[in-house]
Symmetry: C2
Subunit: 288 residues, 2 copies
């Protein structure tokens, strides 16, 4: 595995791979890698000739009161894990390399960036689309692998890629969960031992919705009421949202219909803000 | 010359050229080509293996009260001229091809997009950076040629390219002028015969500034006063601005110092809004 830290070196390497006819897959991460990330790297490796993992805690996607400063970092461990999962090139730029003095340009995908996560984190998706656009210009990938855990991020990035005609195929890999159902996340380290146990409520609430929809319940309000009850039993600090959306537009749906509905939620336990989601397969309504 | 109208066809063509080791030069235009545009195409042709000219009147860079609807168009003539100047590929997409329903993404370069032209045309540069980013992703150029006539546009695009790590070299070609000094522009057709004569005042005002600076005048206020007098004698409808800026930042300068100073101005005659600029070479101050 080669480690690259500057933009020109990474671009030259990407040019060289492309000239040799090799396909490039990128896995953008903020580091502190867990099995979820490793599964994304394995996907990139299986699809492309060259798997590039990027490690960059991107300041522009954190709000001023958020956890940029204390976001967990462990580059040495990340290097070992990224290599073990099959990374060919690890791109680890410094903040000044990505945002030098005088930096002024942002990519904004309107509307979908302003709802749900975007409502609680107003500049978050602007930071995400900006860094992903930059990384695509630096790594020059054919395919990019993202995790379904950040489902709204996936929808925002798909919209940006389509709108800006970026010639990059977006691949989405499924959520990996701990044995008790908690979605893997670098931010799970913020959970106290008690909250760690209670945090399984996110998964249980989502499973309830999926099962109730499977039994025929179509009313988002009814489902949401029960999900809130499951979450509230876990004594969260706050429930930011619990709702049902169309998978691509993230428009909220009140009546569950069609194949592309996601249950999405965001819940806080102390300093840990957790998000999770689940596809809710809704078969065509029984008209007998 | 090949004419391409869809994004996937243009991207496939660009991929093919790059696979064959050919360099691609792009000249983005809004059509109604004049000798100024043709000189840009000739530069692209001389620098790159494949010269791609794009013809697209980009709606997002026009304000709601501006001239998008009446902007002059003549595709047949443009095809002849583009070919005569050495265009290999003419990319002519429809508006719906570039901005399909549901389009939501914009590239914004802050600060420099909000001053001077950006003050009089608030969403103009957002439209410019967005369409240029899109065209770069579609045409995949190694080099892009722009005209110095739109000097602030050049500065905004340079900033965007650097900030977003776009691996495209920006080439700037000099202003072409009519025999009486008027800078060539597709919008010159808006001028009435009387205004057409008066419009040479822009060039005369700029020449005055250059000559006065050459004689040692360093006070922008003094120069500006005389330039305003020259312009006002031409009975313009409005003088939007006359000022001196740093070539890259477009920060205004009050005292002319250093090698990178531009005189810039924008003047309206009836429906024609004209812009022009000139480098003001300022030799180091005489300290004898």
């Amino acid at each position: 595995m080669e480690i690259i830290t500057t933009v020109p070196d990474m671009q030259s390497m990407a040019d060289r791979q492309r000239r040799e006819g090799k396909s490039i897959g990128i896995v953008p991460t903020m580091g502190f890698l867990h099995e979820g990330h490793l599964s994304l790297i394995e996907v990139a490796r299986s699809l492309c000739d060259v798997a590039v993992t990027t490690l960059f805690v991107n300041p522009t996607q954190f709000g001023p009161a958020e956890d940029f400063g204390r976001y967990p970092r462990d580059q040495k461990k990340d290097e070992r894990l990224a290599e073990s999962a099959g990374t060919d090139i690890l791109f680890v730029p410094a903040v000044k390399e990505m945002y030098p003095d005088g930096y002024k340009t942002y990519v904004v995908t309107e509307e979908i960036s302003a709802i749900l996560e975007g409502k609680f984190r107003p500049t978050h998706f602007r930071g995400v689309t900006t860094i992903v656009a930059k990384l695509f210009h630096i790594v020059k990938p054919h395919q990019a692998v993202f995790g379904q855990k950040d489902s709204q991020q996936v929808a925002v990035i798909r919209r940006m890629v389509e709108d800006l005609n970026m010639d990059v195929q977006i691949i989405v890999a499924p959520i990996l969960r701990e044995s008790d159902g908690l979605a893997m996340s670098s931010r799970n380290v913020y959970l106290s031992p008690g909250d760690r146990k209670n945090a399984t409520a996110l998964y249980r609430a989502l499973l309830f919705a999926k099962e109730a929809a499977g039994r025929g319940e179509r009313d988002a309000k009814v489902l949401r009421r029960e999900m809130m009850a499951i979450l509230n039993e876990a004594h969260p600090t706050a429930i930011d949202y619990v709702t049902f959306v169309h998978k691509e537009s993230f428009d909220e749906v009140l009546h569950l219909e069609g194949p592309e509905i996601l249950a999405v939620l965001a819940v806080r336990f102390g300093k840990a803000r957790l998000i999770d989601n689940m596809m809710i397969p809704v078969s065509p309504e029984d008209r007998s």
